[in-house]
Amino acid sequence: MAKHIVIVEDDADQRENYQVALEQRGYQVTAYASKESAQEGLMQVKPDLVILDIIMQDNIDAGFQLCSDILKRFPQIPVLFLTERVEEIDRIIGLRMGAWDYQPKPVSLGFLAEKVATLLRLSDIRDAPAEVEQSVRQVGALRLLEESRLAQWDGKDIEGLTLTEFRMLEALTRRPGHIVTYDVLAQATHQHYVSNNTISTHIRNIKRKIKKLDNSFDAIKSEYGLGYRWPDNS
């Protein structure tokens, strides 16, 4: 049975493009143009995943309000913000509200579809973890659970790691000791254009999150002017 995805986006063109792209990939898509219509529609049905814009019509926080309503009713539903609000604070607010990921516009439909698939797979794993065979990669103290997109440091879950950050960690640790360039890391963000600075900001956030578990963490080395490197012995 096709997964049911709800898209809430006030811009008709984008809404249609998302819907077409996802439907072509076999999903059942219901699209709403406003917060109110989405709230009404979601009273009737429980979707498998919700994609929310944040600014809708004149309400600049419509997406946040809708996310809050949805998660009150269906706490387990993966919510993905797909928005033009790309400031760090908006990202933090969205994730703290319980959204599973935060994707800035413009987005590649291919990346969007991949992200949707990932989130649905994660949702499935979390619903029935025993049925999924986890692909685990251990790099020193770092343990990456590929299927559930979870990362652990010294056996403890790294809290609040976004999908983008997990992808970056994954890219960094693929060949320990080798430099991972900014270009490679940019691909992990699933955005058309990413500046080195945005990548560095993601890396800084990853470091902070791991340092909450281990203050002596120093496994991500800067290769200034080129990229980052996960040391061979970490």
Binding site: N197, S222, Y224, G225
Partner: protein
């Protein structure tokens, strides 16, 4: 033209406060000046009034004495006795044997003896009175002066003066004044024989004083005795005894010359002021005025009142107030006092001139300054008998000291009041000025503080003085409005990139996703190329929007970063080593020059990396083709310097001021990468965040440009 206008306006503005202050000062100073003028006019008016009153008084006195020959023509008690006139003295006489106090009366001396001045055995006598004492000056002509010998009890064996003073009961007191040596003389009460002493007036007593001074042709005796020694008739007798031993015998009385030249111990009369005339004048007594009645011989017959002697206060000021008063007095003296005044002899001469005029039957008046602070008004009028024959003269002298004293007191009061007012007003003015200056300074300080080091407004309004209703308040409000508008504009500018990103991202996303869907549906091969171009264009737009938003958010994003100790030398060395590009000539793209292995700074590594990105991007854009970029790092004092130098055209002078400002670029427009002049702005923001600064320098030989970032060293 405009410049000159604005310069003039600036001058006017600059002078306006001074002009106001000058006007204020002039008004303040004019107050005491006008008061002084008023007082001076009042003084003139009062003195004129006083002068007229004095003239009327003189007329009145003349009327009183008109036809009173009994008072003026003939002296009282005249019978066979000779009258010796006692002149009123203007001040106390020092009994010292000198004649300085008597100079004005020399002409009135009575001569006795042979009757001719200069003859042997004669003498002249001048008598005067001051307050309750009678003074006498006797000049004796004597070829040989015989002084009293010690131990000789006979008092008549030496030259001496005999003084007969009948008391009020008719008993006669006889005194001998004799000298043992020049100087103080002895005064003896003697028996009727004029030789045997009864007792001696103690020399320490000042009741009777006598001093002898030898002269070439004789000697001079000056004496003083109390007025109460005289009886009612004011009788006295004075004889000069000349004792010689020139005939070889014992000393003996050679001649005895009395003031009554004929009869020994016959009393003379001391003609003093006429009691009758004095009684008449007594009712006219006024403070600081003197009325003198002279007879035809200009002998004073009656007088009343006196002019106060103006004794300057010589007390040294001790307290600050006294010292201030003393300074004030001196200043007033300079301001008010009349610089020239007459000496006592000049004053006497003036009086004499008036008296002579009056003797000529003329009414005369005069005015002179006795001292710096006192003017004397004098009037002399003739007194005549019924037929118009001259009987005497009345002289009225009046001092303006009282008026001047009042004027001076008023001046002092006005000066003190004006000074106090000026001080009070100056204090008020000073406080007001200080307050205004403080307000302006506070406003300036606030205006300075609303701009952060990067030149952006921190707030949208001023708080100082905006509620005040005066001009500074108006200025503050105007300035606050300007700040508010600037702030709004700054807000607009700073949020514009984000707004732009918000607004562009939606259509951009719609377009990009549409292209993706289009591609997914399949396009002809010849159309795919255009699809790719459209997608590349959209990605460029996306990059532009992203860069703009990044730059706009940079300051906010920097606040998220934490400074950590780091080795800048390692960072830069690593960074440069990763710049792999090489020029066609085989030269290194970027050359790193650093002698230090360790340059410790507190920094955010990826921000410094971002800064290096921007500096190298800039250097690459402007360098001479195939030339290397030099990155230099060194320490000096408490700073390290990171320099990025490229050969290439100089930065135009007009750009140097705002090179590090957002949206300023020296690049020429082209079809390549879009440039918004954000790179160097990012460099400056990062340098500032690290407590440093950035500067640009044009170098010569070879022509190059160098950007220098100065960062503080981390001191451990």
């Amino acid at each position: 033209m405009n410049n000159s206008n604005s310069t003039e306006q600036t001058k006017r503005r600059r002078w306006r406060p001074s002009g106001q202050a000058m006007l204020f000062l002039v008004v303040l100073l004019s107050m005491p000046l006008l008061s002084y003028r008023f007082l001076a006019e009042t003084r003139v008016f009062m003195i004129e009034g006083q002068s007229q009153a004095q003239e009327q008084l003189a007329q009145g006195v003349v009327t009183l004495f008109q036809g009173r020959e009994d008072l003026l023509e003939e002296l009282p008690y005249l019978d066979s006795q000779q009258v010796v006139f006692s002149h009123p003295l203007s001040h106390k006489v020092k009994v010292d044997g000198y004649t300085s106090e008597w100079l004005d009366f020399q002409l009135f001396a009575n001569h006795f003896g042979s009757g001719e001045e200069g003859d042997e055995d004669g003498y002249s006598l001048l008598l005067g009175e001051y307050e309750d004492r009678i003074y006498g000056l006797v000049r004796i002509q004597d070829n040989v002066t015989k002084l009293r010998e010690w131990g000789n009890k006979q008092l008549d064996r030496s030259d001496h003066l005999r003084l007969s003073l009948p008391d009020r009961n008719g008993n006669e007191r006889r005194l001998i004044i004799v000298a043992t040596e020049p100087g103080q003389m002895e005064v003896w009460y003697v028996k009727d024989d004029w030789a045997t002493s009864l007792y001696r007036n103690p020399s320490s007593s000042f009741i009777i004083q006598a001093v002898m001074r030898p002269l070439v042709d004789g000697y001079l005796v000056e004496f003083a005795l109390p007025r109460y020694f005289l009886n009612e008739r004011q009788e006295f007798g004075l004889a000069v005894a000349d004792v010689d031993d020139d005939d070889g015998t014992m000393r003996h009385l050679k001649t005895l010359v009395g003031s009554d030249t004929n009869i020994e111990s016959h009393y003379n009369l001391l003609a003093m002021r006429s009691p009758e005339a004095n009684k008449i004048l007594a009712s006219l007594d006024r403070a600081n005025s003197q009325i003198i009645i002279y007879d035809k011989q200009l002998r004073v017959r009656a007088s009343v009142g006196k002019l106060a002697t103006n004794v300057p206060e010589s007390l040294q000021p001790t307290t600050i107030v006294e010292r201030m008063q003393s300074w004030l007095n001196n200043a007033l003296d300079w301001f008010v006092a009349i610089p020239t005044f007459l000496s006592s002899s000049q004053e006497a001469s003036q009086e004499r001139r008036l008296l002579n005029q009056a003797l000529g039957n003329e009414f005369a008046s005069g005015r002179w300054h006795r001292s710096a602070n006192e003017e004397v008004l004098a009037v002399a009028a003739p007194i005549t008998d019924q037929e118009g024959a001259l009987l005497g003269v009345v002289l009225i002298k009046q001092s303006t000291a009282q008026i001047l004293k009042l004027q001076r007191q008023a001046m002092e009061n006005i000066t003190m009041l004006s000074f106090a007012t000026m001080v009070a007003m100056l204090m008020v003015l000073l406080a007001y000025s200080w307050r205004q200056a403080y307000r302006v300074q506070r406003l300036g300080q606030e205006a300075k503080e609303i701009v952060d080091p990067s030149g952006r407004l921190r707030t949208n309004q001023l708080h100082s003085d905006v509620r005040s209703t005066d001009r500074i308040g108006g200025l503050a409000r105007s300035f606050s409005e300007v700040v508010e508008r600037l702030h709004d504009h700054q807000q607009f500018i700073s949020t514009m990139p984000r707004t732009l990103r918000h607004e562009i991202n939606n259509p951009l996303n719609a377009t990009m996703t549409s292209l993706e869907n289009l591609q997914r549906h399949g396009v002809a091969d010849d159309q795919q190329r255009y699809l790719d171009i459209a997608q590349r264009g959209l990605i460029k737009i996306s990059a532009i929007v992203e860069k703009l938003a990044d730059a706009a958010n940079l300051e906010e994003a920097l606040q998220e970063d934490e400074l950590e100790p780091m080795n800048l030398a390692y960072l830069v060395e690593t960074y440069v080593s990763h710049q792999e590009g090489r020029s066609a000539t085989g030269q290194a793209d970027v050359v790193f020059a650093c002698d230090e292995a360790q340059v410790a700074v507190a920094g955010v590594d990826y921000r410094i990396e971002q800064m290096l990105d921007k500096l190298l991007d800039n250097a690459r854009d402007f360098r001479v083709a195939n030339s290397s970029i030099v990155v230099r790092l060194y320490q000096q004092d408490l700073y390290c310097y990171l320099e990025v130098e490229n050969q290439g055209p100089h930065i135009p002078e007009e750009m140097q001021g705002n090179l590090f400002t957002s949206m300023v670029s020296a690049r020429q427009g082209g079809a390549g990468q879009a440039h918004f002049g954000l790179g160097l702005y990012v460099v400056r923001m990062i340098a500032l965040y690290h407590g440093g600064e950035v500067s640009a320098h044009n170098l010569i030989d070879p022509q190059s440009v160098m950007f220098r970032v100065r960062l503080p060293l981390l001191l451990v």
